[in-house]
Amino acid sequence: MSRIGVFVCHCGENIARTVDVEKVAAEAARLPGVAYATDYKYMCSDPGQNLLKNAVAEHRLDGIVVAACSPRMHEKTFRNAAKSAGLNPFLCEMANIREHCSWVHEDRDEATAKASDIVAMMVARVKKDKRLVPITVPVTKRALVIGGGIAGIQAALDIADAGHQVVLVEREPSIGGHMAQLSETFPTLDCSQCIMTPKMVDAANHPNITLHTYSEIESVDGYIGNFQITVRKKARSVIEEKCTGCGVCSAKCPQKKIPNAFDKNLGTRPAIYVPFPQAVPNTPVIDRANCTWFKTGKCGVCQKVCGPGAIDYEQEDRLIVEPVGAIVVATGFELYSITEKPKGSPIKGYGEFGHGTIPDVIDGLTFERLASASGPTGGKILRPSDGREPKQVVFVQCVGSRAREKGISYCSKICCMYTAKHTMLYKHKVHDGQAYVFFMDARTPGKSYDEFWRRAIEEEEAVYIRGMVSRLYQKGDKIVVMGSDVHVGVQVEIEADLVVLATAVQPRAGADTLAQKLGISYDSYHFYSEAHAKLKPVECATAGIYLAGACQGPKDIPDTVSQASAAAAKVMTLFAKDELEREPIVAKVNEKNCVACLYCKKVCPYGAVEEKEIRDRQGNLIRVVAYVNPGVCGGCGTCQASCPSKSVELDGYTDEQIMAMIEAL
């Protein structure tokens, strides 16, 4: 038999004006199981809380209902009071007779009756309440950062500076990502390399950062605070510990004509190479597909010339297991290429632009390499076909982006700004050249961004023409651009020397595979989904995993860095405690009844439900049941409502508790 205490609050006049609080208390006292009922002027005040604490002791109460304001207001207060009185805090409930009653009704009788009903419902519920203990999980204070672009580097540095260990995993031989490829950056036009390279070096030298380049995530196990990551370190064919980065191997390698992907294939590199001179680490990789040794078994020049003996043709991929407590995903983006349709790209293609067959039609990143002082032309704008300096350059915005029918509807967000930047860089380098831009809108909602774009037009004299380009075709050594100026309604034709397409920012090919390994969700384009667009923009729905940079959606550097620092801050918040404590409102499976239909698994938005094998003592598999990982469960209860065998229950909202309330109607 339970002993429930009911405390009816007057809230000064707020409740007492319309609700006859004494009557409510008196009626509550008659409810079965109620051992004590009273009313008081201000329950939340110190004397009010003391009244509650004393009553617990005096009347040996095992459950409490405070009939007062909304639980959103004072549930914490009264649960804490109950706790200090030695009661499990989850045995204290609030009956909302203020917001839901005294404030919204005028008739005193009706309001009093309703208040009594609400109290009765809560009394019925509290009788079914169970003692709940906050869940605690230990935290491994080590973070994994996936992707070594500016996002990953920033997040890694922030976390490492806070004193935590970071494992930074980068797929390519060097960290740096796209930012390392850029020339100068909007909106300030500072040199990308100049601001990026020091950060890359900092990351590599930081005592708290373990760098795995040329590596990928093999698998992810565990949950928030306790992940086990398996990293595949791909065979570099160069022993990192021995290599001094002298570069003799690259210089002597007879295979010299391999297109350099970092330079968007404008230049070439040897088979043993670092992607770019400032690469971090400065350790070469053998591109086995193009290496003579690996193709024919002959050559071995690099091994012969390498002083420290760092070349190892036998090296194999290695798997490393890293325990971490939190993960930052920062895998960045890819540009849509009209040349080759990237696998999985939803964009239907640009036949009207020649499908990439016109050599002097390039993308924005290629232009960055042309404009970069450390690029293949030493920063001279020269067109790929014949190396001449182009005098008429046409830029075309929104190629792929914002074109529902082509396959994607979103705006790539950065191309308006980088195209404006390109026209400026071009004008700075080719004074007698003319830049034209075909655009639909100039989307420049950033600090100093519109001013930047206006500068391109007003000071650098770029001619902006509103309208999409219909077609491009080669005519002699020119490219005819067919457009239209929609402001004046006249067709426009320009014979260009070079055409630069601002192609769509897309998620990395394979972003979905990584997401599946991590158990995080992604949108229909494969950008990773944040838990809440506004209030949890860096958290994944999966606890303990955070997002930074362009992998979550198109982003420029300022946005990327802000998000990266925010993700790092979230990781640090997590690491501030030794154990994670959370409300024990989580689902539990009754393994006896579970029929393993796994409906629960299907509906759980948090991916908290796993399959669990039940084995006998000999280790024989008896059956499979569902298991809810309490570290991951968000507590929505969807599984419970969906379970056909009623085998899963959400603590704090059990069927019993709810039914009790309904019965009390």
Partner: protein, 194 residues
């Protein structure tokens, strides 16, 4: 020409003309971002074939023939609404003045001869009399424009109310006024003034 394709290149964009208009009007043309606010409020928009914003746009692209070909510039009432409201401080009313001057100097190719004629007569009046005499202005305009009967009904009404002076007298300082015209002509001849 109105609908023919614009072939843009550094050769076909007459930026010298644009610079001249910018110098005459003291207003930047590039600053315009084609919001259309000028045209939205222009009281004369419905009489123009190119709304004011399009005039600026053609200028941005150096398409001066297209600007001067239309009668739009002659239908601008100089009300300054566009200039007042332009978010970019494009002084369109001044640009219209500059364009009319360019067209005036080129003796065409404007289509709006009536407006031009009225302006010419008005200025002639100043040179001859120092002040405006509306009676003469109207009469000569009607004769020259071949609209003999235009406003026939208004004339007597105005005269009886003393609103049109039938006789007029010259300013006493006519010589000085003539000097002003002469000196301006002289400066222009020497290329010292636009």
């Amino acid at each position: 020409m109105k609908h023919s394709t614009m072939r843009l290149s550094t050769e076909t964009m007459n930026l010298d003309f644009v610079k001249k208009v910018e110098a005459l009007s003291g207003s930047s043309v590039r600053r315009c971002f084609q919001c259309g606010k000028c045209s939205a409020g222009c009281p004369m928009r419905s009489f123009m074939e190119h709304p004011p914003n399009r005039i600026v746009r053609f200028l941005q692209l150096g398409q001066y023939e297209r600007v001067l070909a239309g009668r739009s510039i002659w239908y601008c009432a100089s009300c300054e609404t566009c200039t007042t409201r332009c978010p970019n401080k494009v002084d369109l009313a001044a640009i219209m003045d500059a364009l009319r001057k360019c067209s005036w100097d080129a003796k065409g190719p404007s289509k709006e001869s009536y407006v031009q004629l009225a302006n010419r007569l008005f200025i002639d009046n100043i040179r001859t009399y120092g002040r405006q005499y509306e009676m003469r202005l109207a009469a000569v305009f009607n004769v020259k424009s071949g609209q003999f009967l235009k406003d026939l009904m208004l004339g007597p009404k105005l005269i009886t109310r003393g609103k049109l002076k039938v006789f007029h007298q010259k300013n006493r300082n006519m010589a000085e006024i003539e000097q002003i015209f002469k000196r301006i002509e002289e400066m222009r001849k020497k290329g010292e003034a636009p």
